[in-house]
Amino acid sequence: MSNYYDGLLKLCGFEDAEIENERPRIESSFEKLGIVPADMERANSWVRQNHDVSLEGVRKLLGAWLQELIDLVLSKEEGKKIVYFGFPAILGPGLMLSASSEDVFVSAPDMVLDHTMGQIFNKLTPILESGEANGLPPGHALCSLWQAKIGGIASGMIPVPDLALASSYFCDMGSKADDLVAAQYEIPVAYIDGVMDSKWGEFPEYLPERVHYLGGQINQALEKAEKVLGIKIAPDAWERSQKESRGFVDNLLKLLELMKSDPVPISVVELELLEALSGSSTGRGIREGTKAMSILVEELEERVKAGTGITEKRAPRVMMAAGHCSDPRVTHLIEEAGLAVPLTMVLSWIGGPKIEPKGDYDTPGEKMANYELAAANFHGTDASIKLFEWGSKVMKLDGVIAHYLYNCRPAATTSHAQKKYLEEKTGLPVLALEIDNFDSRSYSADSMRTKVETFAELVKARKRTGYKSLT
């Protein structure tokens, strides 16, 4: 028996049988989320307008996000112990907890809400407003990702977690907002602390003390999680989680190889669905997402063979920090201006040049910390900027849109320095663009159009006049 949401779910890659099997869960979760028949027309047109649904891989990816949403919303009533981690995160601890018990659900709920209530249903605003009314008011440059998390909990859409894993190694806001959740709902917090105390220019070097400290903090958080959740972390959890995420990484590397083609075969809007899923889900979402990627890789190989893509051939190529998480129109704006985006800084964490981790460490925490510090992810500001520098070589770029998140302090530290640094080091034109990557109410596509279009004209003119890109 069909229902009002069947069409949308099929558009998002669900098979008929899947819908039938999931129907009670879908309806229960939609009820909690306030999704009603009247939302379907808008959601259908929003998805078609913003995503390349001619690709099965994209449809399945959207479906993977929806599956993660359903699991998230129902996790409490289905008897799961819930762990929320802050984004961006070192995913290893979450993966290990997931791999150790089927009764534990580990996720970044704010990212799930952004990609589903934002990118699929276009209904994120009331959730953000609820976050603003419950401790994170507007006008103070507070994180809109956290507004979504607090808003989701306060409005009863997503459950209160049993444990918060705080990403205390990156932003101050996130851990402090975990304190807010702890104060309001009396939940325990496991802080994974670290200090981004690199001196400018230090990357790719880092002190072993940083590995010991961050790694030790991860190990302590895992011990606390065992106590709070009443589980035992499986001895092989680290190896298994590594093995399970291998498929995702391999597929991502294949996709990035395809993105070197001219024209680029797919919009960065869809790549954002991938990059974000890998940093948000440790359960069904990422498993289904990996399958979707396999399909997508095959589809894009066909496009590359056929020489087709989403921009004109020889369109100037630019790199950006990350696609928009809740409103794809912001990301599309760049491509609509005639620029191809083969890479983001976030994707370059995986697909960029590899810095070999230094030293051997025994514990899972130290292994994770060592990898993350070598990969630049949580190293410091100049490490982030160097990812752009490398990306410009790997993807033969013609320019860089070095946008920075105004309400994310660790990201905003790059606001001015990255433009100067990249222009000097690469000779490429760089547009420093202030953005809110999770909330487009103030930073809409239209508010940035003039800047992006002007920049696109500049880059096109340079390319027409024979300026050589880096090789």
Partner: protein, 380 residues
Amino acid sequence: MKALDKLEKHLKERLSELSKEKEKGHKIIGYAAGGYLPEELVLACGAIPLCFIQAGNNSILRRSGAYICRWFDPFWRSQIGFITSGKDPYYNIVDLIVVPITDNHVRAFSNTVGYYTPGKELFVFGVPHVKDKLALDYYLQGINRLKKTLENFTGVEMTDSRLQESIGLCNRERELFREISIMRKSGNHMVNSKDFVALNHGSFLADKEFMIDILESYIQEVQDSSMLPKDGPRILLTGSTLARGDSKVLDIIEDCGGIIVMEEFAEGIRPYWGRVRVEGDLMSNLAESYFMDRICPGWFRPGTERLDFLVNLVKEYHIKGLVWYQLIYRESYKVESYFFPDMLRKETGMNMLTLESEYDAMETGPMKTRIETYIETMRR
């Protein structure tokens, strides 16, 4: 107060005195505010510590706009403005800048020094945000690296006896600040908050031994004075930063008849409650005192230690009103300002007033209205 007059005169002459010290070969070590640099280490190698504590003027923020976006704490944007403009002579005179990195606002400053002023010698070390054994070890490793850097930089070996001597000096300074602060528990209002803040700010720049004399003289003057009971609500002023030059909120509270009897700030007020032990491993003792024993700032997680401390201060100092003075975009304090009022009300029955600043003169009017109203409600 004669002691304060003497301090003011000393500070007026301080720059020329420092120039002479430089000529004699003494190194001047500038450091970022926050209270995590043990001055003992600088003093023990014969160098002179100077804390960058000036801010409060909105015009320097405009200068920082060429280097960082506006979404950072105005105190740290002020430091960026000063370091890049050379408008604070203290920044120009230092030989080495040390930045204990606490949160991302401080990191923005450290990046600016590293990238935009490569001619300035810079040393950074991290301050963890949690208190446990691992964090203590990490902090200790940081100050040990600093010790080596200072020894190399000055060419002076930091022997235990030198370090013991400098710890003794700094302990004496902390003890004197503590003594002055504790005097305010009683109804003797001779210790004016503005004086206390001026002494604190002066201590970041003044010669250490001179400063100790000043504090001793100040205490003597207070003890020799007659009691001056005042009729006004006793106020606890708290926040992230109380910079030298940021006196607006102090002035307004005083003008409105409030009496500030306690200031709790992470930056701008020296942590004076602790004492560093002089027996055993001195570096470990410094780490223990500066990191573990100190009441943590708002960017520690969880921040409950500081919030509990505030509640205790309210009780111990017979506080009638708490003014939470935060600088805009310092997110840790902003988030805490949402859930702390409930905690405060539950523990003390008191409401608090939250104020926010970007060092803008335009804030004065609305700020005055809010403070007047708050004090008025306390008087009823």
